[in-house]
């Protein structure tokens, strides 16, 4: 594959690097050093432990979905609270620690240098484990932002920023700067992109205004919040679950196969294409929503383009094994890598396909997305991590792996487990998606009862449980094999000491050739210059300058983000104002907080797409202007239950009360667990004020009464809701229960659009104002100012 380009006639020149202290091998000062494998052992151990926890949590939530009653109404162990725990454990605990194990092992060897600071390495390890433990404690208690894969609240987010960027990033960058290998291998580029981009994503997605230690309100609202969340969400997949694992692939696959990567040129194209394309693709998660059409189309276009470099990477990985396929048959480590890379190829084909609007219209909100995610997570991330671990274990424990047969058994159990997981879930997604849109000959929905579409796929969910069980059993084999291998470790580890020349600031750089093969050819100088440029001396220079390289990656990522974010935030026509949309009342706002804490978004969307089947099922499609007070947005990504965007006034308040108590009683066949605890837990009216103040601070126009007498205002509305429940046959004196606040919120969702504007307003103000007009904003503000929150009816 590698074709010889122009031959270099490089000459050695002495040069000083202005951006950093970089390399020169010619200085001849010998230094002794050893690699820090103790930190690799720590991260590898953590990876294995969290692999078990993360997959076990997944198995538990899969069981809870088919047997919701086993949670017995205990809030900490119901599906909606545990599902984010599973995703966080799988992504940040299992995959995160696997990334760190890979980075710490490979970076030292690629740089021929020990990590810059052992202290920072340990701080990183313990800091990250603390973050995971804090996540495991807070999420089941309902302390969540409800932003997918970014659920953790602001104090933990701050800790993540410090540990990730300053401790891990700082240690990594300093190791690069102090390296003894002139050239930065491609795996290091992927690590750089990971560290920079994840830091940018994390910081900007989590900007919020605190409303106490356990609650923050996003600075973004509605459409813009959705945009930011999926800019983060998609790129978390890209730069947490893809680029570092590609770095892992580019290092460990050649090591395991004992042959160099198939095409280094392809890896360069692969890297830059991913960095440039991935960051644009987020809006494909928001097709047919209230996101502006142009942003969604751009997201689709870049997602389709993503296919090309992704498959370039897959091909590069698989062809690295050229001439070594006989090893694959015998070596389970290579088997894990081959299947992992194959799943990478499958997922990166399917991802662009799902981003095409017509496909997305069917797949979105169904299990198809879940199957897609798990083919990537279990196949690509899981198997690449397992392959790496099985390759590492004998090296870091300096003994043979306890049982090769068990490794093979893990491989086959895991592979069958993945297939048994994803195939039924693909079928479930397709089936439910088709049922949702099926219309009879009279133009009515064939399956108007949502529960019927759920019940039809429950048996497929049972198959998923079986697949998950097999996958978890494979992880158990890994744990056991690791434990037994660890028992056989030597009393003291051998720590080889290497000697290598120190690299100093001055170095001899391969001078980009001025001569080309076209020197003697009668042609324009432009062509000759182009030929010199194409020898990529400039790129090779970048590859030796970690700081410059880091800055270039940052520019690519931030630049691409700004191209999408700036128009989304600044074009007022993106979010046409609706004069009748008002802020939530204090009670409703607190009810919304409960909705978020309970994780209702895990099963219910709040976004009706402009499709006949959706408007027939749920009502008028959602408008961007309806969400301007929604912090965070609650559009969701999966409908295990029906959409709630027009839930206000659809059912009586007492129906909701009974529904929380026992969902199956009012909705036979429902897989929703009981929320009995909301009927019992006391609603503390005093705790509502910080929520209102935060919302007010962020621009919600609350009047003095709502701001200063929050408890009284909320209590009055709670009395009205409670009276409504009594009048409908419900229990008396329940105004101080959490369920009342949640019911107030549910009865408010989606009703503002149909309100009649206040009579004193001129008729013209009631209509959607002209795009970007000042009058529109003023009219809206006036309406909001006049509206007493206590009068904003709960329907």
């Amino acid at each position: 594959m590698e074709t010889s380009g122009a031959t270099t006639s490089d000459t050695e020149v002495s040069k000083t690097d202005s951006s950093m202290a970089v390399p020169s091998i010619e200085s001849g000062e010998l230094e002794s050093f050893s690699y820090d494998d103790a930190i690799v052992r720590l991260f590898a151990t953590a990876t294995i432990i969290w692999a078990l926890v993360g997959t076990l949590a997944g198995l538990i939530v899969a069981v809870l979905l088919v047997m919701p009653s086993i949670s017995e109404g205990i809030p900490f162990i119901n599906f909606a609270r545990l599902r984010p725990l599973h995703t966080n454990a799988a992504i940040f605990a299992f995959a995160g620690n696997a990334i760190f194990a890979a980075v710490y092992y490979s970076t030292q060897r690629l740089c021929k240098a020990r990590m810059w600071s052992d202290v920072l390495s340990r701080l990183h390890f313990w800091g990250w484990q603390l973050i995971i433990v804090l996540a495991a404690v807070t999420i089941p208690f309902g302390i969540t932002q409800s932003r997918e894969y970014a659920e953790l609240e602001w104090p933990i987010d701050l800790l993540i920023a410090v540990v990730w960027l300053f401790i891990f990033g700082g240690n990594f960058l300093m190791t690069l700067i102090k390296r003894r290998e002139r050239h930065m291998y491609v795996a290091l580029w992927f690590y750089i992109a990971t560290i920079i981009t994840v830091a940018v994503l994390h910081v900007f997605n989590n900007l919020c205004v605190p409303a106490g230690w356990f609650k923050g309100y996003s600075v973004y609202a509605g459409v813009q919040d959705a945009f930011m969340q999926w800019w983060y969400g998609h790129n978390a997949v890209a730069f947490f679950l893809t680029t570092p694992f590609l770095g892992l692939m580019y290092y460990f696959l050649p090591k395991a196969a004992d042959r160099p990567v198939f095409s280094y040129k392809l890896s360069i194209i692969h890297f830059w294409s991913l960095v440039f394309i991935y960051i644009w693709a987020g809006p494909h998660h928001l097709h047919f929503t209230a996101l502006p059409e142009w942003a969604s189309t751009l997201g689709m276009l870049f997602s389709v383009m993503l296919w090309m470099p992704s498959w370039g990477g897959m091909i590069n990985g698989l062809l690295t094994l050229r001439g070594a396929w006989h090893k694959v048959a015998a070596d389970p480590v290579l088997k894990f890598f081959v299947v992992g890379v194959t799943f990478y190829g499958m997922s990166t084909f399917e991802g662009p396909m799902l981003s095409v609007k017509s496909v997305n219209a069917l797949s979105h909100y169904t299990d198809w997305t879940i199957a897609h995610v798990h083919s990537g997570a279990l196949g690509w991330n899981g198997f690449m991590a397992f392959g790496m671990l099985y390759w590492l274990l004998p090296r870091i424990y300096q003994t043979k792996i306890w049982s090769d047969k068990l490794v093979s058994l893990h491989f086959w159990t895991g592979t069958i487990g993945i297939l048994l997981y994803i195939i039924p879930i693909y079928a479930a997604g397709l089936m439910q998606g088709l049922m949702w849109r099926a219309m009879d000959e009279t133009g009515n929905l064939m399956y108007p009862d949502f529960v019927e579409t759920v019940q039809s796929i429950v048996f497929l969910w049972w198959l998923r449980v079986l697949g998950g069980l097999l996958y978890v059993s494979g992880v158990c084999m890994l744990c056991f094999n690791t434990l037994m291998t660890w028992f056989a470790r030597p009393a003291t580890y051998d720590v080889p000491v290497y000697t290598a020349p120190k690299l100093s600031k001055s170095y001899s750089e391969a001078k980009p050739a001025k001569d080309t093969e076209y020197n003697e050819v009668p042609m324009l100088d432009l062509g000759k210059n182009m030929s010199v440029w194409a020898k990529m001396g400039w790129h090779r220079r970048w590859e030796r300058l970690p700081v410059t390289f880091t800055i270039l990656v940052t520019i690519a990522v931030v630049g691409a983000t700004l191209f999408e974010a700036v128009p989304t935030f600044l074009i007022r026509s993106n979010i046409p104002t609706i004069a009748t949309v008002e802020p939530y009342t204090p009670l409703e706002l607190y009810g919304r907080h409960i909705y978020v804490s309970e994780g209702c978004y895990n099963c219910h969307s709040q976004m009706i797409r402009p499709m006949v089947a959706e408007t027939k099922r749920y009502g008028e499609y959602s408008k961007p202007g309806e969400f301007i007070y929604d912090r965070p947005f609650q559009w969701g990504s999966r409908r295990i239950g029906p959409d709630l965007a027009r839930e206000g006034g659809r059912q009586s308040s007492f129906w909701h009360w009974r529904h929380f108590e026992n969902p199956a009683e009012v909705s036979p066949g429902s897989v929703m667990p009981s929320y009995q605890h909301l009927l019992n837990e006391e609603l503390k009216f005093d705790s509502i004020a910080p929520h209102v103040k935060a919302a007010w601070y962020l621009g919600a126009p609350y009047d003095d009464e709502a701001l200063n007498n929050t408890s009284e205002v909320a209590y009055k509305q709670a009395e009205r809701v409670a009276a409504e429940i009594v009048s409908q046959g419900g229990p008396a004196n329940k105004m101080d229960r959490k369920a009342v606040a949640l019911i107030a919120y549910l009865q408010r969702i989606g009703v503002d659009l149909f309100k009649t504007p206040a009579p004193e307003q001129p008729a013209a103000d009631a209509e959607a104002p002209a795009e970007g007009s000042e009058e529109a904003a003023e009219a809206e503000a006036e309406v909001a100012d006049n509206a007493s929150p206590s009068n904003a009816s709960a329907g």
Partner: protein, 59 residues
């Protein structure tokens, strides 16, 4: 005043600029990568194969 300027700016061209930026960069990197010397890429590709510090490399 800034508000007025911002509201008069036309951002609709951002999507096209974005595409042009990407296509240009991609074409540039691809062309340049394909013309890299085999000598160099072979050396770079072999970096991970050894944990031992190698002989001094000139590039």
């Amino acid at each position: 005043m800034i508000r007025d300027i911002v509201s008069y700016l036309d951002y609709s061209v951002c999507a096209e600029i974005a595409l042009a930026l990407f296509v240009g960069t991609f074409a540039m990197i691809t062309y340049a990568a394909l013309r890299l010397s085999k000598n160099a890429t072979d050396r770079f590709a072999s970096i991970p194969l050894s944990d031992q510090p190698q002989d001094p490399r000139s590039e």
